[in-house]
Subunit: 215 residues, 2 copies
């Protein structure tokens, strides 16, 4: 059955790979699964046809025959469960990989989202400059803990897994701020993720859509 | 094998059931699994012994023989996968239940966390009063979308699932603010969750620890 995902017709990041379809593309590339992409405009994302697929009016979505999913975490989980390459075979190791997926999305990403909101949603507010150090400090606290756990290991728990895919994807969002570079072992961890051929293919595929002039 | 979870020695909410061990207790009660609780002080949560279990120094954790997990989402997922009662048998319906778990934790909870941070982490800051309506509006936007999807259904996708357990748990955090009550169908959805005998047992168990005078 053909896998169809949705992506921004034009990503707000101009092709830096930070839109969430890149996470799904990366997982599909790791799993060696071909896929098609349907591009969606910002206006179409709020229309009933898209809201039936994604109740929060976002991208990406995932369709495969009768199955329709939203939420990057859930889509990457589904891909990892259906195909080898993203979950370890051992049951306990698999449970720990899933733990890291949730840790990336529910513990590490929220303070990073907060920074994006402070910059792009409240950038013009009178309090933003004074408030920013607090927001940055909350990210630093998380990265300090993550860095302590990673130590000098290559990946978070043994071999590369969907947990690393999600954590690297979340950390990539904080790279442009310069905060990631304060934690050299995490920066190297992210660079290892970016160097994977599957990531490279996913990145190139989204760049091909987003680079150049807006349509 | 005995299941052991950790919880606050003394929850900051004084027993309102908003600490995250309640989510895990609820899942264990739905699955009919007995469990033991090890209480952890705020000081002990930052000690190496606890950080080995939970790299971000939080509760709950989950131990079962050699397996040690953290992150509520991952623990509830593990319980739902091991025991009947929290995931539908049909594969597509199960994938959708997992989607709602991730939606609760990565789409609905982040703006709710932001409100908690604005109140308890930045409550004394000069900008907080002026900024608060923005924070509240971001929650309202999400609840509007969630309410539209739920419609007049009892649960998010067919029978009660781990997706509902997580969504109800996340929405409970916004109930004290009064925002939930603006969405009567969501308030009724949360009340249906709270009325489940398994939730009642979980709530009572955490209350027994947190009620009364601090130790």
């Amino acid at each position: 059955m053909t896998i169809v995902i949705t992506a921004f017709e034009r990503s707000p990041d101009g092709g830096k790979g930070l839109a969430r379809d890149t996470r799904v593309r990366w997982a599909l590339e790791e799993a060696g699964q071909p896929y098609e992409v349907r591009l969606v405009s910002f206006a179409a994302m709020k229309e009933p046809a898209h809201l039936r697929l994604h109740p929060f009016g976002q991208i990406p979505t995932y369709e495969e025959g009768d199955l329709a999913l939203f939420e990057t975490g859930s889509i990457v989980f589904h891909i990892a469960e259906q195909h080898p390459g993203l979950f370890p075979a051992d049951a306990d190791a698999r449970a720990r990989a899933i733990t890291w997926m949730f840790a990336a999305l529910n513990t590490v990403e929220p303070p990073i989202l907060e920074l994006a909101i402070a910059k792009f949603g409240e950038g013009d507010k009178p309090w933003t400059q004074e408030r920013m150090p607090l927001v940055v400090e909350r990210i630093r606290n998380r990265l300090k803990q993550l860095s302590a756990r990673l130590g000098d290991a290559g990946w978070l728990d043994g071999e590369f897994s969907a947990g690393d895919l999600m954590m690297v994807s979340v950390l990539l969002r904080v790279k442009p701020s310069g905060i990631l570079a304060e934690f050299p072992s995490l920066a190297a961890y992210v660079a290892r993720g970016e160097a994977r051929p599957a990531y490279q293919r996913a990145f190139a595929a989204q760049l091909a859509i987003n680079a150049g002039e807006p349509k």
